[in-house]
Symmetry: C2
Subunit: 372 residues, 2 copies
């Protein structure tokens, strides 16, 4: 007796986009004291989000609203669009999977940067869709010109781009992004993952007053709003795209408490502004730390900073040693960014701890690497 898996399933490797800190803890038998690797917010949630969570517990036995009621209206208000332009999902990861289903088949190919957000590539693989890639530029920017050329050359119906970029942390201005969109084929959808937009300078977010039917923007409550464990994000797009998502998305796709929490958080822009300011302070501190250690960084518009270790081996060794010291971080996997290790902005205490451990770790790593 053999289980009847599909040929695609049989062909897929048993991999996951990235290893969770809990998994590392279980495998290595360690306990992280400092969790600054998954770009989670260390600055908590708004008291309004907390109150909304507490108030929603009593109704947890009811299925969640599949059309997200007041939350959808609040999101539409925030962006000055209609509710018909908003679809909510269980985080950008969920929404990326739906985007693949809606725009791509195994007869077409997506276009994206080599080493761009892993979950997008995971979904492409999972749906048997090819991806044509071009490397990041050496300074950590997406190669917009090359991406547009690939979209034309491969008649691709979809380009993926994160802005600000994950894993690089760089960002383009809305003007640059609009110029990029204008260069794409008219049949090509551009999916812009704006998970880190709250941390980016004014003028980064693409204007959404004039909804282009070929543009899909993705937002999340996982970063500045501090609700990563809630699994909630949304798209801003044309009515037609939202309707297409409705044809295939899970009906009860977002936890009831998560919907309440997101709505509460939206009602507290001052709190989010405070988080953004604290993140900016932390980023500066990281840049100072890097300078002290003689390391370059990629200027970041996010809640994380990439430290340049010079080469892939040294970057990986530093990451491994930090993990051994109970500090969870991650690193980009593909060249040219694989020479960096990436650290999420921590609390002042976590940053102080990192600043005390990192010099020692680098010394240890360099001493070992010198012997090899």
């Amino acid at each position: 007796m053999k289980t009847p898996f599909t040929p695609l399933i049989e062909s897929l490797p048993a991999y996951i986009p990235f290893v969770a800190p809990e998994t590392i803890e279980r495998k290595r038998g360690i306990r992280f004291t400092t969790r600054i690797g998954a770009n989670e917010s260390v600055f908590g949630i708004s008291p309004k989000a907390r109150a909304a969570i507490e108030n929603s517990i009593d109704s947890i036995s009811c299925y969640s609203d599949p059309e997200w009621g007041d939350l959808r209206e609040a999101i539409a208000d925030k962006h000055q669009v209609h509710t018909e332009n908003i679809s909510v999902g269980a985080g950008i990861d969920d929404l990326l999977g739906l985007a693949v289903r809606v725009f791509l088949t195994n007869r077409t190919a997506a276009v994206a940067s080599l080493g761009s957000y892993g979950v997008f590539h995971y979904h492409l693989d999972g749906y048997g869709v090819k991806c044509i890639t071009t490397p990041y530029l050496n300074d950590g920017f997406n190669n917009l010109e090359a991406l547009a050329k690939l979209a034309h050359g491969n008649a691709s119906p979809m380009v993926y781009l994160s802005n600000p970029d994950n894993p690089a942390g760089t960002c383009y201005s809305a003007k640059d992004i609009q110029a990029f969109i204008n260069k794409l084929p008219i049949y090509c959808m551009v999916v812009i993952d704006e998970a880190y937009i709250d941390f980016a300078p004014e003028g980064t977010a693409l204007s959404i007053n004039d909804l282009d039917p070929r543009v899909l923007q993705m937002r999340t409550f996982s970063k500045a709003h501090g609700l990563a464990g809630s699994r909630i994000g949304y798209i801003i797009a044309s009515k037609e795209v939202v309707q297409a998502f409705d044809k295939v998305r899970l009906h009860f796709n977002v936890n009831r408490i998560a919907q309440a929490a997101a709505l509460g958080s939206l009602q507290d822009p001052e709190f989010i502004q405070g988080v953004v300011e604290q993140v900016a302070v932390g980023r500066s501190e990281y840049e100072g730390l890097a300078k002290d250690l003689g390391l370059n960084v990629i200027p970041s518009s996010t809640n994380f900073v990439n430290f340049d270790a010079g080469n892939q081996v040294r970057a990986q060794a530093i990451l491994d040693q930090l993990i051994q010291h109970g500090i969870f971080i991650r690193k980009p996997g593909a060249p040219p960014l694989d020479r960096y290790f990436r650290i999420t902005v921590g609390t002042p205490e976590q940053r102080q701890h990192l600043a005390s451990v990192l010099p020692q770790v680098i010394a240890e790593v360099d001493s070992v690497l010198k012997q090899v």
Copy 2:
């Protein structure tokens, strides 16, 4: 400029498996006083689940454990299997979509009862997979013999069955189900949706001591555990099936608070037993109510009861009138079960309210139907 949807997306109707009570409220401008249509539990959640929810709010900024840590172990313990036999998802709806991806392609067809759980058929449509169906028997049972024949005749890699059945409420014994499995082709997977198993008589749940690589059981925390709004359920299956799910499932698929709530609820079997007993009392009351009104019911092993209205038109009219009276219920859509209206077991107060409204509603409906 045209949005580049896939041919499959273009071909799909803009439908949803079932309309939510919130949507009906918005469209009709009414407010339901009595929500007994979605088979949600009206008996709340365990105090242990509530405590777990409250304790997990502080960590909501962290992504949830993608391998479900302690919860997965508790589930494995409960069923006396290994953690490798358990995969957790955002409710059975999520897991059904993954099952379609793992076992079916557009070159194969699923087999299921006509009018069986709508979300399964929604996923099949969404992935472009055909389904071969056979009607329920007239007394509300799945036609096991016909299903097995269809699986053979169509060389199907997957049969779907809910036991206890949704929407009928009937159930087969584990022995009958095992005999059914034995009649299936050796290349055919059977997906058994056991969402309502807690309410069923002893001897209904398929034995899981000897995991058959072709059997996949699905469970949920939405029903007896009262956590429908949490979006959490799981599969019990062979290690190979769980690994196949790992290849395509969302990594951070289940809300962190939901994982905590489910774990808390599992630690309180007495609470669940209490819910099951209260549901049994409510079912008896519904049977008595039906008898008083001269209506037959389908004997139920779930938390809902189907009332026989005699024909589809009368059943639909009674449902519409109940909704106008602020009582949300649903009904099966396909013959022969479309002559029933289906009511979830409510609280004693809700049942009393229903008992006071239903005779009047039926009288109104019959008076109108007589005139036509």
